[in-house]
Symmetry: D3
Subunit: 287 residues, 6 copies
């Protein structure tokens, strides 16, 4: 971008003004994971986007997973993974590793990165202030061990951090009635947190372009989906496989009062800013 002159810079800022005004003092929950998290350059771009949003007056909340780093660590300690119906069984030892990696490594590294870029960040997890409460997930009779089902979200610790000007960075463990710790799906947690905060927008950073009518043709992207059309799209096979739980989170968030939920492509640099600061946006928006 070396050729963009200072004049162009000014013009771009002016161009961005209405979008900045639109999101001023609004809450945006970003779910961050996948490739955008592994590729250092993409990570840089996500961190800068979040700091920028925070500085221009958006109330940014970052919810993250930590997939590959958890697997790496389990491998390192020689922990044999047990799968049930394709889902990882979480025993106590696995849960300890999940907690360590998520809340201790991934979370605090993100905090450090945001601080380094000039933001103010605070790393929290579902245990802090008793923020996320859960019970054992009991679906279809399968025992997944310490995988939890969110029963309630107390936004006080998040609001306290936002109110003091921090970007809350949230690792998604939860605590049960007797103090046991549960592993929580990060997409689901992000949706519930967005709903509890009455967020303007939930953004799921994924490794896909969004919803495609024809999986092999990116030009068939569906830019806007009304949540009432989702069952139909599933029936038609347009929403399928790993996309189903992501879309479910978006639908859940919208149904619980979040204004917009977006599935965007975290593999593009600055996808968050592009989604927020252009009329067309990118990816697929649920409303």
């Amino acid at each position: 971008m070396g050729q963009i002159s200072d004049f162009d810079t000014a013009q771009v800022l002016v161009h961005a003004l209405p979008y900045i005004q639109k999101y001023n003092n609004k809450t945006i929950v970003v779910k961050y994971g996948g490739n955008a998290m592994i590729n250092e350059k993409l990570k840089d771009s996500v961190m800068t986007d979040l700091v920028l949003l925070s500085i221009v007056g958006v109330r940014v909340v970052l919810v993250h997973g930590g997939g590959p780093e958890i697997s790496d660590m389990l491998k390192k300690i020689g922990k044999q993974s047990k799968f049930v119906n394709g889902l990882r069984y979480t025993d106590k030892e696995t849960m300890d590793v999940v907690q360590m990696v998520l809340a201790g490594k991934v979370n605090k590294d993100l905090v450090r990165h945001l601080q380094q870029d000039g933001g103010r960040a605070l790393g929290l997890c579902g245990l802090d202030g008793g923020m996320i409460k859960a019970r054992k997930l009991c679906e279809t009779g399968v025992d997944l061990g310490l995988v939890g089902d969110i029963t309630s979200v107390d936004t006080a610790p998040i609001e306290d951090a936002l109110g003091k000007g921090y970007i809350p960075v949230i690792a998604t463990m939860a605590v049960g009635e007797n103090g046991e710790v549960y592993n929580i799906n990060a997409d689901t947690a992000a949706a519930r947190i967005a709903a509890a905060l009455g967020a303007e927008k939930l953004m799921l950073l994924t490794d896909t372009r969004g919803l495609l009518r024809n999986k092999d043709d990116e030009s068939t992207l569906i830019p806007v989906v009304n949540v009432s059309d989702v069952p139909n799209l599933i029936r038609q096979g347009i929403i399928s496989g790993g996309m189903i739980p992501k879309v479910d989170c978006c639908v859940d968030a919208v149904r619980r009062g979040v204004n917009r939920a977006n599935i965007i492509d975290g593999r593009d640099a600055h996808s968050i800013l592009i989604e927020m600061f252009s009329d067309e946006g990118i990816g697929t928006m649920f409303q």
Copy 2:
């Protein structure tokens, strides 16, 4: 700029981030007048710049003059102008016209323009809340009538407006001890207001590129001047003519605690943003 993609937009925003951080919650006093005020397109660009700064957390104060509109109105009412040593003698009738045009027309039009662009603005003048106090200007024995010399600035009305999120737009009349109204030079007023507010920056929008070593060669622009070098530059004739009072205002502001004072070219679109959001800045900066 039609060709600048959304990706470039994002990159430019990221590029602007450190500057936004730098000026976040700082006070910037902009003195606005001359060509930038007459040309509608330039006016649009100045207004948008100010709204943008305000939205990203800069405390913007706009001080304005109103030269040509005052002359037009005096002509319309057939008022003969009397000049003393090249300066306009301000009798009571002239002062009334000055007040009407400045505080009623120019000021409120600027307010309306800022509001229309999505800003929040409040139009004040030196009489509101007794903000600017003055006495009759008594220089070199010449009687200029109701031309005033600022004795004090009470920033309370400005701070009140900033505190409530408004851009204060200030017409520069002043009030005397016995309630008489004085005409005040807008550059001088801007400098004194910036000093009283402990501003980070005073920006004078002018019709020149800045200070040039060689008047006919814009490539000889002096980007930075230390206020202690000003007497020297005057002796060398580099600061001369109409530039002297403008430079004096900058020197006065810096001496009274303003961090930086800039003379920039209001004939360029977005000169305010360009100055603030680039390392080199534009025009001449006094420090």
Copy 3:
């Protein structure tokens, strides 16, 4: 009053106490215009009354017109007035003069006067903070040019000023959807502002004693009128001519929740204090 002793002063203050208690922290909107505005001695008395009310804890809002000064200025610039059905047609040039005179001259002069008397005043107009919104007045198919019909009042700038201890002085232009400026009837504006503020009282200073059963006999003054009786009084011809729009404003204010609306005689010194600090009051009160 030279003979009134200090003892009498004390007794009068004591006598005024219950009235001061009654209006303590209540909002009073005063519409000021006509003779009380031209006669300097009456102006002094109105200004002192307002400062006094403000000092003893009444939240005073001053709304003003500017009739004669507008006409004078139009005459000065040789502007031919065009009348439609007896109403002045407001073209763009006229509107500019109205704005200049109202917001720049009359408004700021009042501010200065209040400050000089020891009050704290802030001069605003309907454009400041987007306070008064209007659309083109479209009554009876007549085109009056830029005469506006109020669509909404945003009290934020007024409340901000009251909250900081200022007397807001309001010139009654309004802004349209596309930024165009409208001329607004000051009585109507005062009524709408009083309603939007949930004022205790609206006081219209006029050039009449109030409502008289017999126009030629001031002893037939009607001190109190229930707004439901107004249609009847119009039918009986007791309310007629120029009194009708004034009464309409009072009725409108009361219907929109203002507790009392008074038409009082601005030709008497201290009519505002007399109305507020005596049981009988003066003029005609609508409830």
Copy 4:
């Protein structure tokens, strides 16, 4: 005053305006006792004066004694008074009566009276919140029993009451280091409270016109005394007898930072208002 018209009322209010402005938000400590306390009509006038001052924004603190009522009660219970050097010896039984009458009867009656007149009052004594601390008075080797010498005043309970809009009414007992209760001279206490509050004015309501050059000629009243002249006036015998301790309180208050201290005649109705709302004032002012 029946003949004073509403117009005169208004004029008087206007006349009072500068005085109201002068004392707005200032603290005035009134010491109340003597005849003004016994005569019901004078009491009415004092109470109304205080409520009025409070309503127009003066921070009023009322400090009271209770002389005659204490003597009455002591007589009722058949308590023999013992005098030492002309001063009443305060044994424990006497102290109990003093506390009962001062804090229970006189204090709460004043509170009730102020509330009845539309004021808001809170009855405190030197024990509340540990407000007044004292030790045994040890002057000239005479044992006066539980007569105390103030060691410190904690203004927190007074400021708390003023801050919530109450007139604090203060009975002047004090508490010793071991919880013992001391009888405190009310004039002295008023002076110390005024000093601790940084009051603008201390007013001692007495049964004299003020300081007279010639005791038998009220026309020889000394309106203003500089505290440095007091020793001289004592030497000349102009300050003598019971006047000496009162003047000492005034001097003490001024020395400790109170702006003005006044000895005024409580036998005149509304002497407080007359003193505050006239240029000449009444009685003698120490500065």
Copy 5:
């Protein structure tokens, strides 16, 4: 307790923790009278209990009577008591004594005691800030003179004191519409104050163990009573005599929204703490 080691101290504190958490920031109204008030050692224990509760975050309000001290003083002044249906007739002279003793002696002595123990206390009565309003009690056609029936409680002075960290100590006189002072039953006043404050708990300190099934057998104490069972218990004679009005106060408080009302034995040291910091509590609790 000399043998209880520091370790035991720590364990006891830990044992008390859940109770402290339970009452944290809750309002507790304690009615204090009878033996607990006469016996100095018991008084010490009550005062310490209240200071402790206040320090650990309970909003404590102390309401007191003053029976024996009033009788003593009446006797001292030789006032003949007149009884109507076993109730003391309160004439003006009696009322004056009641006020003096309650608000001046008992109240301020309690304040002093609490302060001496390290608490912060403010002594108020029903007259302060117009807190308790009453009319003449008109039951069964009997004329009891100035005995009052509470018509309303304004909690502002109590909330103001609690908000500033004081323990409000309240003497229970009330003021009538015309400023007359009424004698009020302290139990009744405590119940009404607790209700007006939305208190968590009302505690009546009495000279009994609580409600006994068999008056002569303390082991038959009824620990918990549902207010709907009270009529039944009266019919059975289990609630009878002097217990009836006390129970009525408890029922009244619970009906008006107080969560729990307790009748406890003030003859035991630290009965307040024991009731609050043990599961079983002591005495009888109404819910």
Copy 6:
């Protein structure tokens, strides 16, 4: 303690009152580690102590290490430890494990424990909000890798958490100028945090009784040490070995303004409460 009656409970509370008053609203920094952290029963006792202190109004900050759990994890991943002069060399891989275990496991487990006991806790580390800044530790030319030397502590995140009623739980990593993460000694960090907060007290929970004159005789415990005597005690060999750095932390804290620093025995249940709620305290206090 089963035999301690409710009456004793009350007495103990009363006995604790002056200590609670003494520490009310004061800041106490507790450094927690060693045996007290491994033994579950002792951990329970520490957690309860902290919740109790927090509930009775002490501002509690918990700083923790995590020694054994770090070693366990390093062993689990087969990481060979390298020692330099008896100190562990911290390479990047080790640092990652330290961060994971400290900030992810130990820290959040403590948070969960405190929450489970009814406290409100927030788990932070030196990276959150850029709280602890450090540079590479450069002592005696030895390279210890990523072991850091604290350069500054920003208490904002701690104060924010305390202000919102949380117990901040702090894992002691720090961040360098270029974003690198440093391992920080927890005792040192606790001392610096206590100093930066202007704490009343720093408490180091250790595995010793305190400072003993004769290492083998606990009866020779030195209860109080003036920091100026420390050099002498080192010379005498009374402070030696592992005690030296702990004492240095205490001295450092006191020198930087902490009122008291205590070395207490974490192997005793409730040692924190015993230290704070008894006159003699336990362990050794530096002042």
